[in-house]
Symmetry: C2
Subunit: 355 residues, 2 copies
Amino acid sequence: MATRRTPSKETSASGSPVSMADLARELGVSMTTISRALSDHHSIGPATKQAVLKLAKKLNYQPNHLAAALRKGKSKLIGVIVPYIEGRFFASVVHGIETAASKAGFSVIICQSGEDVEHERKNLETLLSAQVAGILISVSLNTLDFKHFEKVRKHGVPLVFFDRLLEGDHVNAVVLNDREGGYQATSHLLEQGCRRVAHICGTQHLNIYKNRRQGYLDALQRYGIAPDDSLIRDSNMTLESGAQCMADLLALPNPPDAVFAAGDTAILGALQLLKSRGLRVPQDVALAGFSNEALTQVAEPMLTSVDQRTEEMGQAAFRLFTELLSAEGTAFSQRQVVLQPQLFVRASSLRKDTI
Amino acid sequence: MATRRTPSKETSASGSPVSMADLARELGVSMTTISRALSDHHSIGPATKQAVLKLAKKLNYQPNHLAAALRKGKSKLIGVIVPYIEGRFFASVVHGIETAASKAGFSVIICQSGEDVEHERKNLETLLSAQVAGILISVSLNTLDFKHFEKVRKHGVPLVFFDRLLEGDHVNAVVLNDREGGYQATSHLLEQGCRRVAHICGTQHLNIYKNRRQGYLDALQRYGIAPDDSLIRDSNMTLESGAQCMADLLALPNPPDAVFAAGDTAILGALQLLKSRGLRVPQDVALAGFSNEALTQVAEPMLTSVDQRTEEMGQAAFRLFTELLSAEGTAFSQRQVVLQPQLFVRASSLRKDTI
DNA sequence: ATAATTTACACAAACGATTGTGAAATCATT
DNA sequence: AATGATTTCACAATCGTTTGTGTAAATTAT
């Protein structure tokens, strides 16, 4: 009896949620034609394509990625999890990722773990629910195992680690050659004539700090210098901690003539302490840090530091993701991309008058 | 004849894309029940709810936000567009936004305009296609009109501006009281006994720079000092530009005894130039910047600067978005949230021995 | 001229969740 | 005991796309 009427959609304020169905109706063709015309399918005549494109523009049709992703099973979203977005390093990597991703038509969802595993796990679930096509992550400081990543693997979502990862597990990752970086920085200090080079290092369960320290040891060995445990100080890499370590080092019976810290903030703390004690840098103590943060060029003297190739890291991480995506189903090989660090020598370590 | 069999889904590698349908089959109930049980609908018995929840956990069912969003018409995604993610200011605001958003169950898609309107427009389209529930944006430097935001309005997607916005148009925004910030910084310099205070200012079509300059002028007037156009220099706020402006100012017949720059990088450039000329800060020239970047505490002397309440800004922007979301349909009032800046006084401006 | 191919399009079933409507069963009310 | 309320759940349509299959017409080959 009652005629079935499409419910008039006057809901959306003044909206124009024009769909493919609208285009189809307007043009008197099927939705199939619209869909294929828009995706440039070969089975659609050029005239029809033109017409569809024109009308789409006219009604300013906006495709609904959600619907497409739902149907196709894969979205154009990728998830990125970092401990925190602030701080030059992660911001810069995210910059690299986002730039590469947007070029490839992907959007990136950003998540912060706040250096907390629990948050990290929640983030992973959220991203899986959002049906991301892949996840790029730098694990939090207190991530000690890989249990929560199992779920990701089960869902068949490509997972790429960058910078920080856990030892032992074989995963897809792009990392800096931290060992080489540590080696370069330490070698440089030794070349400058320093003979008692100290090291301020971070937590050893993270690959990055472990490797930087190993590079430090490598350099000592290369120069035939026996490592002195009293010159190696654990630190949480904060400004205060850096200052404290420096103070401790100065209190040694035989204090160092150079310090290589695994982070720039820590080395800045050391610098400030040295200056407060009236010691000269680099004449009394030469300094080198890690990360090449902006502050290295603001400090006085400017700080020598190892650059982490942040942007390349972001790009590489995304590229690795795309490779995993297309290689899906293939025997999953674990790929590791290793970037080479670059030492930026500045005044804080220049003892010899070079050149 | 042939029995209709559900196509066996052995597609996904080793995947467990378990859906509500799976849960329903397993439990011998309808999908309706599953859906309602999961969303704690009143019409589902406690026993059933328990069973569903338990099974969901067991099969580690992961809800598909895409499908839900499609059906409901609104997603749990918000889009954030910034000129670039690097740099303390934006990174920090994004941090604030993400933190607030994730607490409220929203995920944030991050986009960079690269200070380019064209990119900005593309970003907007991408976000609309992704069916975001709202868009938070700080416009690019060369965004001169609001044309491309029309589409957003048409789609009925809440739009919130933060920090940067265009003059004249009435929009929802959360901004810093830049005028007050400029006033505070300048007043402080005047209180320190400076009488020829210069200003390095940014492009005047952006609210922020315009207002900071106005605050500068306000302070001069309050102290009964006539503004001197030769003391106001246009700049693009880079390090080099800051140094250049400082050089120009020093070349004046009657050089300034203080400089207030609308950005920290610029004031750092000025500082470096002053030191290279052998002038003392603050004795010869006192300095104050804007943004309270990390570098202000690394420079020597440490730089006085106006803090922009970045995290609060992010939180406020998100909160404003949620308000718009729930007020949807209501007469759309333009809401402006104004945050109060905070002056951090440091050595670069302390001429008087305070306290 | 007829068969084989290509071109151009429509039908309809998915994708995974939500929800208005309705219908049994259970319980309380007078 | 009969009516009404309440609880508990299933049906089926729907969101906006994509895509395998089907089928005319137009083109080419034999």
